[in-house]
Assembly symmetry: C2
Homo-oligomer: 648 residues x 2
């Protein structure tokens, strides 16, 4: 029997002469991509034959040890590849010892880079996979049903378990489809357990939708499950906002109105359906092509989105109805994608720390950091904080409110064209310069600014700049003794700072940042700060080695501004990283790599939840942390920044 | 450690002193019924303490070896039981060696008698089971979700697997229900894998619905899953009849009309919903209390009822879309019972031999007959025949048409009040006497007969009597030379026999049995006869040791008449048994005993299907078997009957 070695894995073994290389790879546990399963119609299983004598292996892998080139192969290999000894592994039969190289693009479990926010490398291994099979037509002698015939073929060709179950709606057209397709079909299998689609011929396209249902913003990612690429990104205001700005007010709405839960449930399902329609339309496709949906949300949004009674999460002891990951038929939820599609929701950790934080964790993987003290903070209407490493990981939840997302701020808005996203205030003149989304130049260089409002990253910037320039004091109060037209009393008689004059805006009035706005940011940053200090104390951590800022607007945040206003404890700025919507990234990863779901289940069990709001000195510490940059803790890195601007 | 022996199983072992007898039984693998799981509120776990010294066991099981009688027990034990040393096993603790008798009614896997048609003994072990649990309320220290808390309790108390899944709709009200019930709930689990209902407090009632979807008649049985009793029996004409009388005409309807399948699918689902509503109404209940539905049907009815494209079953090679047993959510099928209920369908054998014949097999169990040659024949619009025993079992299907169910017979009708069900013809006078359903006397003793028509058993009787009295000849043709006003030419000029004169009827005209009716019966009986002969030949069987006649009207059939007209090969009449609707019985058994589903899966795989209609001499033999009693085969038992009436 000839010996075959596959590189780069180095797996080797004896195979029968005449075995094709695709089967040889399977026998030796090497995963070569093959959409058609070896019937020479997909061209995905390219491998390269390494020529020459490899003394250390004792193998002479000359091309004569392979069967002759088949005409089929020329359809899939270009001249260059042919010259470079590429073959289709389903066509080339082993006649003697061989050394074979499996190039990256032909490997079954490919590593792919997720290209939104931070670049993340993952294994492309979605729950939804397609398998091409060709079957013999039914005969009088062969009484197997259409369904059995498909399962037998999947088992014989791909080793799928015989216990596969057809989702009921798929059975209905099955007899017609297999015959019209002349028994050549592509079968879509979910999680190696359920057949959710049978299509005529060879089909590779597979769409999946990852949705991050935030309290304020819903972000959605339409992904190609076959390539791992994100095809369309879209978002909308959570349509439940009309029933309440934050999670507690929505719980209240559900409790005070008999149809409250049902209304909010219907609103978010309708929102997801709108996104699915809008996003597939951009590709001239329909939502019926979406074969799986993954959802992340905080625990209250999870309950409402699934229509589960949420009132008990809102009061002590904050018990969730369910914490486990769910797989729910999209049709049972009313989500209008493929009729047999499943909706996967990531698990809850505890209390308000929901599937969205699990998403952050599986994206950021602090549990893989062996030693250093990592902090991952997810900024939303509810803030979640994780601190620790592989040894121990704690999490907590803070009621930050929607201020950092632009809500409850007088001129706050979502990150959209026309929003101020960066701000600088000259400490001498107290004049403002700013950058708006959609334009490259900064005001005042920018003519005809058309400012509409200020978004999250701009809000953090302006507070930091007002503090650095002395316009607001350590307490957060405006210093009204300053002589600048921008520092003034607003219509309500309370102090404010004018960021943009009416003629720079598209709304026809001055856009100002008010004393009330500063307070809202103080409440948010104090909640985050106190929460993270409690976790550090429980872990016995003196310092943080790194801080990761996540959140819908997280990749645009100015990390120096964020640290300066005290959103998180002191840390070397070089080790502070803003990564964007890590919860959404985790959601996408769960869609694209089923291994991430197992990781999610494990970390959801292992991370320790700390209920910080019930600590006896919480109120006292919360009040102290309202100050800028923050309370009495030591902060060498912040002092260094302040020294640069002459504040120390 | 004390020794405890449980009778009648004889299981014995050592248990810790102080263990209650319910736990002791579990430890020793003895299944004692306990709805409440041992919290002393159901009274189901009665056992009897055997007193005296049992030398052969070396055990002195005096009552002093038990803890004292608890006040709780008097609520559930009457004086007689107390005097007879009955205890509740959850209350009585082991203090020394004991001999315990578990009475039949306290055994977990009870044998129950199914009381419709033939009495059948089975193990009451439904897929749907209820479990009562009491839980600790959630606390700040215990972050388990409501769902986890329930699963943990079911695991701790009943050993149910931790992998139990909540059917999605059940999660929605869960937080409200567990709290309103103060954490004392009854959980309904399907198949040890899915939670389909959570109810406050201790609930025992569990309803299930078994439906036998015949081509012509739909029979339904509302069962108590807790006691195994049939509570209500009901039936209706299959509402699909308007689209075609038999399976082939319905397939044609589906093929010729774009919405044909959908219409017929909707019609039967609507019919099942009507039956479910009507039957629960009789008990002042609602269909939402039905927790599982089991269905049997022939393969074509299965496809149409499930909405699966049926055209390919109707033409060679007669391939089913799916043959396996299905578990489909009632809500996906549109069946309006409990929202999380499952619908279980028995598996198909092959071709037209569908789940209904599997129902017949698991009811009649010919595969448990070690030696003798059994024949089981299910008479419906399609006839199914099984012949064989534990060694080998063959089956086939015959197109009998609906004649034996009263359809396509001039005055044919369903078995209902007013239908002639038994007939005798005096061979001398050629006068008729008959019995109608709903009346005890026979005509002519019966005054004011109010005959409406003739049903299946009457049809078989009248053909046999016409033959015995010489009114019809061996060929089936009327002997028009006879001198009787009853033997005449009808309006169409063709011969007929008047069974009832107009004044005996409620329809105001003579009820006659026509030459065409005789022909329809001949076609049906010939199909059955030829089918069974083929199977006997394949098995090398010369004779049948027993014949079981099943079918909707099967228990009323006159077996002598049936054999005389040649519906089945010759057999000793003592070994011919009419058992009624065995398919419906099998359906009920599958509802009440999950073990029967495994048996069904096995037998559906093992029984060998024979396609008789494609045999080269089929037409020839079919024509020959049209004669009475049947073709040239030997038939000593039939000759004996004929000799008695002077025909030999």
């Amino acid at each position: 029997m000839p010996t075959v070695i596959f590189q780069p894995s180095g797996r080797r073994g004896l195979v029968d002469e005449g075995t094709n290389l695709l089967d040889a790879a399977r026998q030796l546990g090497v995963d070569i991509e093959s959409v058609c399963g070896g019937v020479k119609v997909c061209g995905k299983c390219k491998i390269k034959i390494e020529t020459g004598f490899f003394e250390k292996f004792g193998i002479d892998s000359r091309l004569s040890n392979l069967s002759a080139f088949l005409p089929d192969e020329t359809d899939y290999l270009n001249e260059e590849e042919i010259a470079d000894n590429y073959r289709l592994s389903c066509c080339a039969e082993v006649l003697g010892d061989l050394l074979v190289f499996v190039p990256e693009e032909s490997r079954g479990a490919k590593q792919v880079v997720l290209e939104t926010g931070k670049e993340r490398v993952f294994n492309l291994n979605p729950a939804v996979r397609k398998y091409y099979i060709e079957m013999q037509a039914a005969t009088l002698e062969d009484h197997r049903s259409d369904a059995e015939r498909i399962k037998d073929a999947l088992n014989a060709k791909y080793g799928l378990p015989r216990e596969l179950n057809f989702d009921y709606p798929i059975l209905r057209d099955l007899p017609t489809i297999v015959r019209e397709a002349h028994w050549k079909v592509t079968v879509t299998v979910w999680n190696r357990q359920e057949i959710i689609l049978v299509e005529p011929g060879l089909v590779q396209r597979s769409l999946g939708l990852a949705v991050d249902v935030g309290t304020t913003t819903v972000a959605a990612y339409l992904c190609d499950l076959h390539t791992g690429q994100v095809l369309v990104v879209d978002s909308m205001m959570n349509p439940q906002v009309r029933y309440g700005e934050d999670v507690l007010s929505r719980i209240t709405y559900a409790m005070m109105n008999d149809d409250g839960l049902e209304k909010m449930h219907a609103a978010i399902i309708d929102g997801i359906n709108t996104l699915a329609r809008r996003m597939t339309e951009k590709l001239d496709l329909t939502p019926e092509l979406i074969l799986e949906v993954t959802l992340v949300f905080n625990t209250v949004m999870q309950h409402i989105a699934l229509g589960i009674e949420p009132s008990h999460i809102g009061r002590s002891p904050f018990t969730a109805g369910t914490k486990e990951a769910q797989n729910i038929k999209a049709r049972d939820l009313g989500i209008k994608v493929w009729k047999a599609a499943n909706v996967h929701t990531l698990p809850v950790e505890a209390g308000f720390v929901g599937p969205d934080n699990v998403g952050v964790l599986i994206a950021e993987e602090p549990y893989k950091e062996p030693e250093k003290m990592r902090m991952v903070i997810d900024i939303g209407t509810n803030g979640e904080i994780d601190i620790g490493n592989a040894k121990r990981l704690l999490c907590t939840s803070c009621a930050t409110g929607p201020a950092l997302e632009g809500a409850q701020i007088k001129f706050g808005m979502r990150a959209a064209p026309g929003a101020i996203e960066k701000v600088r205030v000259d400490p001498e003149t107290l004049e403002a310069s700013y950058k708006i989304i959609g334009r490259d130049e900064w005001y005042p260089e920018l003519k005809k600014a058309d400012v509409k409002g200020i978004c999250g990253s701009g809000i953090i910037d302006v507070v930091a700049e007002l503090f650095k320039s002395g316009i607001i004091q350590k307490s957060g109060r405006f210093n009204m003794k300053l002589d600048s037209p921008r520092v003034r009393k607003g219509e309500d008689g309370r102090p404010e700072y004018v960021l943009a004059w009416a003629d720079e805006t598209s709304i026809g009035k001055d856009i100002a940042f008010t004393q009330g706005d500063v307070r809202a940011v103080q409440l948010a940053k104090s909640a985050l700060y106190v929460g993270s200090r409690y976790l550090m104390e429980k872990l016995g951590a003196q310092n943080l080695d790194s801080v990761t800022l996540a959140g819908a607007f997280g990749s645009y945040i100015d990390k120096e501004s964020a640290m300066l206003i005290g959103m998180f404890p002191d840390c070397d700025l070089d080790n502070v990283l803003a990564v964007g919507n890590a919860a959404g990234d985790g959601d996408k990863l769960a869609l694209l790599d089923v291994g991430k779901r197992e990781e999610a289940a494990r970390i959801a069990r292992e991370v320790e939840f700390v209920e910080t709001a019930i600590e006896p000195d919480f109120q006292e510490r919360f009040a102290a942390a309202m100050a800028f940059p923050h309370s009495t803790d030591k902060f060498p890195h912040i002092e260094h920044i302040l020294a640069k601007v002459g504040k120390k």
